[in-house]
């Protein structure tokens, strides 16, 4: 599965410096139809509360983007809107978006397949996406 190898290669290229600096503690879960990356985000903006983002890479991820969701930091199997920040508290994190919550940052499924469907994710990188996401969770 070439798409899966490309996803794992991208994850593998995540720089250790940024992982350590932000305490991302990445972990990977493989399913039959997706590679799921979990990253812990500590939010200075929200009193150092910890969120865990799940980025799911499916066969179409390079055209559709990395499918975003937040999960329970204590149980990664529990995902969904309940685990997203309250709508309006973090710039670009659109918890109340319909038909589903989305993150308006280049590289996500929400950005390229829901909010800005004419823009393709080619050229986006996981490292930049995560740093931008960390940035909106930290900005005051």
């Amino acid at each position: 599965m070439e798409w899966a190898k490309a996803a794992l290669d991208e994850i593998d290229e995540l720089r250790r410096h940024w992982v350590v600096r932000h305490g991302w503690s990445p972990s990977v879960h493989k399913t039959d139809d997706a590679i799921e990356l979990f990253v812990r985000i500590t939010s200075r903006r929200l009193a150092n509360r910890i969120y865990v983002i799940k980025l799911a890479y499916g066969p179409e991820w390079r055209e559709a983007g990395r499918r975003e969701d937040f999960v329970d930091p204590d149980d990664y199997a529990k995902a969904g809107r309940d685990h997203w920040p309250v709508h309006g508290t973090v710039r670009a994190v659109l918890t109340n978006n319909n038909p589903g919550p989305a993150i308006c940052l280049k590289g996500t499924f929400g950005y390229h397949s829901m909010l800005h469907t004419t823009e393709r994710p080619a050229g986006t990188s996981l490292g930049r996406l995560l740093l931008e996401l960390q940035g909106v969770f930290d900005e005051t």
């Binding site: 290229e13 250790r16 879960h29 308006c104 940052l105 280049k106 740093l131 996401l133 940035g135």
Partner: protein
């Protein structure tokens, strides 16, 4: 669900925190060894302290393919964003007490449209 800690090897980088690498001196040295950590390759080079910081910023930008995207990145020392890129390296070195070497980060700004 089985969650496995990353089985892949993360690429090694330089020092894990952004901080000065040498003790501050009484005045800025003429040459400063600068490392810039980016999301791609790192920049390691020696710069004249009379050069504006913009020279370092632009060199680092090229490593991430950010030429022409100056407004989308910041140069950061520790938790301090170095906003005035026209100031010389020596001027900043004096302000922050850098020694003969220092480490920065090139951080993308969130682009929300």
């Amino acid at each position: 669900m089985i969650i496995s800690e990353t089985p892949f090897q993360l690429r090694p980088a330089g020092p894990s925190t952004s901080k000065e690498l040498a003790m501050p001196s009484s005045g800025p040295p003429n040459q400063v060894e600068i490392t810039v950590i980016t999301t791609a390759d790192d920049l390691h080079d020696t710069f004249n302290s009379h050069q504006p910081l913009r020279v370092v910023f632009e060199r680092a930008l090229t490593l991430v393919g950010g030429h022409g995207q100056e407004d989308q990145f910041s140069l950061v020392f520790g938790n301090e964003t170095l906003t005035d890129l026209q100031r010389t390296i020596g001027d900043y070195a004096q302000q922050f007490g850098w020694g003969s070497s220092v480490e920065f980060e090139l951080v993308p700004k969130p682009v929300v449209v």
